[in-house]
Amino acid sequence: MSDPADIAAANVLPEPSAGEPLLEVRGLQKYFPLTQGIVFRKTVGHVHAVDGVDLTLRRGETVGMVGESGCGKSTVAKLLVALEKPTGGTILYKGADVAKMGGRALKQYRREVQIIFQDPYGSLNPRMTVGDIVAEGWSVHADVAPRKGRLQRTQELLDRVGLNPDYVNRYPHQFSGGQRQRIGIARALALRPEVIVCDEPVSALDVSVQAQVVNLLEDLQDELGMSYLFIAHDLSVVRHLSDRIAVMYLGSVVEEGTEEQVYGSPSHPYTQALLSSVPLHEPALRGQKDRILLQGDVPSPADPPSGCRFRTRCWKAQEICAVEPPALVDRGQGHPAACHFAEARQVVPTEVL
């Protein structure tokens, strides 16, 4: 095992003091071009996958990000781990702009910000053994683990995520979905990250296995003090894990606040509709929910509506909504919501009436 002081000496990024934001995202945008033609490709438009996302992630904190498919959650994840380049906006990590990082700083950023993917089948190379998968990062970031103790370190990691350390020489197909997800977690941990972006890490798992992985993520955070950006569409899992939550709709954040604020007094109509659609599994609470059924589907991100993105499905929409995009600010509900007519409303029953 390497001495932590060695790594600290190699770091080029400054250490922020406690409580300071680790990761700050301001006005993040990502447009994908839509092209036509085969020989002469011309751009005919853009898919506005991410369009103005603001986020702050502090040390040791979990920020949950919820939204329906196509709202840009996964694109945000890819932008954060520098797999895609943003079209606009900035990502500040420990105060430094990621877009302007080069060489050693970018390499360090990529080590410190790791990702766990949704699909435990597609994200592991079927031709590599589990040991090789977990240790692969060290071939680039050799300073994290000295060459000598790598096998032992890999086995420690497997043990830490709840896998038998003797499995280092097995291949991914010999594991179940939940076990593969643990391998993915061990791979991310191998580089001693500060931030882990979890992109739907438990969505593909069965209920009983999902809870095991959720608990593992919680334990690892308590022990190692990492920050999580937890992206998921399952609202109850996100509530369970997160300190703060951002709700996304069609490329932008429509509401943000603590877990208590967003679930207890949702103020954006979309958040209210989303929460009211979640089926509750307590018979006593059945039928006590304020049902808000949205009409129609999410509009295409290639041609988003003017003004407020949600106005085409919103029951509160008025003329101003088509003209002026609402800012994500607090309008008296105690937390910011991007709606001109934001109003706190309790949607999820908390106790039996």
Binding site: E68, S69, S176, G178, Q179, D206, V207, S208, V209, Q210, A211, Q212, V214, N215, E218, H233, L235, S236, V237, R239, H240, E259, E260, Y263, A273, L274, L275, S276, S277, V278, P279, L280, H281, E282, P283, A284, L285, R286, R291, L293, L294, D297, V298, V348, P349, T350
Partner: protein, 354 residues
């Protein structure tokens, strides 16, 4: 509408079924196995249930519990080989369909039992318009002309609340959104006014807001037609909001069954209890989750005795077990534990606290 299919001369003997006489569908000790090169996979190991008119039965289970395979057996769409129905009966309106020849089975299932699937995009044929595919039911079973069939298709699309149905009837599946495709599939399933609709994870691939729309639609359609609905799902929330009764499956067997209110308020099988404890709540932050330890079993090597025993915190064996109730040696039968509730656990009374 259901028995006046004049164009079909070779239809099986007239149905002498009286709705008041009993359940529409009875599954009795059904066994299905897959014979593959590496051995025999015991997917369904003796399950029995009934569905009444207008009733919703939820079959709850994790992947590999045999919930979909049992439904495929009812529909006659198992891939055989490798799948083989090795025992049991499926009675629809009193007649055992497994005892009939293939054509008679088709005549009963076609208009009587329909099924909708999780993935509408792969369940629909991409090269035919949705109107043609919905109309196919009328052409195949009623001998309706193409023009009339399309007319019926528009009516059905209206019924499942697809906006501008008349204009969209000639569109192809890829031109619809996920929620709309699911509606197209529901329209196809409802075409001949079935008495049983099997919905295999109908909303799993959909977003929550769309999921709520589709579940509402299914509920309304069921109320209008009085059909029985079998809802196969792994989502406890959907079961609670839609179903009347629930059957919990584990390793190819039903381990607990009863009304949703009873089972969810006071589970009688450790597996059901484990599932309830595994899911976080949306209504409160709650404490640490209590997952079930271990992995679901491999269906070609199902544990002896109670198949849940390796994961069960209450499992008892040897001297600790009561005579004849050894979790490792004795298979627990599905038995009545309290009125209206059956559970397959030797120590169900302890789980229930009675």
């Amino acid at each position: 509408m259901s028995t006046s299919s004049g164009s079909i001369s070779s239809s099986p003997a007239p149905v002498t079924y009286d709705p008041a006489s009993g359940p529409v569908l009875e599954v009795d000790d059904l066994h299905v196995e897959f014979r593959v090169r590496s051995g025999v996979v015991h997917a369904v190991n003796g399950i029995s249930y009934t569905v009444d008119q207008g009733e919703t039965l939820a079959i709850l289970g994790e992947s590999g519990s045999g919930k979909s395979v049992s439904a495929q057996a009812i529909m006659g769409i198992l891939d055989s080989p490798p799948a083989v129905i090795t025992g049991g009966g499926i009675r629809f309106q009193g007649r055992d369909i497994l005892k009939l020849n293939a054509e008679d089975q088709r005549q009963i299932r076609g208009p009587g039992i329909s099924m909708i699937f999780q993935d509408a995009l792969s369940a629909l044929n991409p090269v035919y318009s949705v109107g043609f595919q919905i109309g196919e039911m009328f052409r195949a079973h009623r001998g309706t002309s193409r023009k009339e069939a399309k007319q019926h298709a528009v009516e059905l699309m209206d019924r499942v609340r697809i906006p501008a149905a008349a204009r969209r009837v000639n569109d192809f599946p890829h031109q619809f959104s996920g929620g709309m495709r699911q509606r197209v599939m529901i329209a196809m399933a409802l075409a001949l006014d079935p008495r049983i609709l099997i919905a295999d994870e109908p909303t799993t691939a959909l977003d929550v807001t769309v999921q709520a729309q589709v579940m509402d639609l299914l509920k309304d359609l069921q109320r209008d037609t009085g059909m029985g609905l079998i809802l196969i799902t792994h989502d406890l929330g959907v079961v609670n909001e839609v179903a009347d009764r629930v059957a919990v499956m584990y390793a190819g067997k039903i381990v607990e069954t009863g009304t949703v209110d009873d089972v969810f308020t006071r589970p009688g099988h450790p597996y059901t209890l484990g599932l309830m404890n595994s899911i976080p709540l949306v209504e409160a932050k709650g404490g640490r989750l209590n997952p079930i330890v271990g992995q679901p079993p491999n269906l070609s090597r199902i544990p002896s005795g109670c198949s849940f025993h390796p994961r069960c915190p209450r499992a008892r064996t040897g001297a600790a077990a009561a005579p004849g109730r050894d979790c490792v040696g004795d298979v627990p039968p599905l038995r009545l534990v309290v009125p209206g509730r059956e559970a397959a656990c030797h120590y169900s009374e302890e789980v229930l606290g009675v």
